[in-house]
Amino acid sequence: MKSAVVLLPGLNRDRDMIAALTKISGTPPVTVWQTDTEIPDVDLIAIPGGFSFGDYLRCGAIAARMPVMRAVAEQAARGVTVIGVCNGFQILVEAGLLPGALMRNTSLKFVCRQVKLQVANANTMFTRRYQPGQIIRTPVAHHDGNYFADADTLARLEGEGQVVFRYAEGTNPNGSINDIAGIINEKGNVLGLMPHPENLIEAAHGGNDGRALFESALGIAA
């Protein structure tokens, strides 16, 4: 399975994402730079976490307007699978590929810890290897993960099963509305989530709860 990782100045989780995709798919991903206007034919495009453009203006705002993101939008429209993690999620909402916005954590503090996630919809291309309602562990590390959407958008997300992951068992680290940790677009091929599944994919990480997400997205059998 072929994958691509988007690189932007200020991202710092790109090596983790490349390592995870290499281990899980068996093939190192190609990398695409911010000024690239085309993305090679791949099955999965990942936008890693970090602090693109220093979080200037708003997290992900400048990155979302770079040429490579037009290419990501074109591929997403063609049906290619896209995952944005942490800053990658912020970039996807700023680019308009996912609805809503990610705001400053209500605690005003950067949170770096492990949280529990409930698989709120196991019937997506990102979660089919999980059980419905399954609780998994993942690390989070962010300052602006407080998901917000207006009432109409929120009702639509909830009604259409677009809320894919929710913070579980009182571990919401950022004040996110309805405990939302990850959402998909209407078409179901673009996922954004604040937690870092790429950091929990093998025993050496202390667990592999995040692995099934990539296996699902890459269509890899268990």
Binding site: L57, R58, A61, R65, V93, E94, P99, G100, A101, M103, R104, N105, T106, S107, L108, N146, F148, A149, D150, G175
Partner: protein, 80 residues
């Protein structure tokens, strides 16, 4: 040359934890009777454009495309 000031503020109903923290800090400094505080952003922009109507239209486009996230923020443009 035209100078403009753009003000970006959070929409009503959008939680502003930074504004809340500032509100509490003001109370802590002894400023009684401070109601809600909402934090926003100000951009001072210089344009080579001479036509004020064109400048205003351009500035609004800049807000829609980059300076404001209209999911959560309102903006206003003032030519100085």
């Amino acid at each position: 040359m035209i100078k403009a000031r753009i003000t970006v503020t959070l929409k009503n109903g959008v939680l502003d934890p930074q504004g809340k923290a500032i509100e509490h800090a003001l109370s802590g400094l002894g400023f009684g009777g401070v109601g809600a505080v909402r934090q926003g952003k100000v951009f001072d922009v210089e344009l080579a454009e001479g036509d004020r109507a064109k400048a205003e239209a351009d500035l609004k486009a800049m807000c829609d495309k980059l300076l404001a996230n209209t999911v959560i923020e309102n903006y206003s443009v003032t030519l100085i």
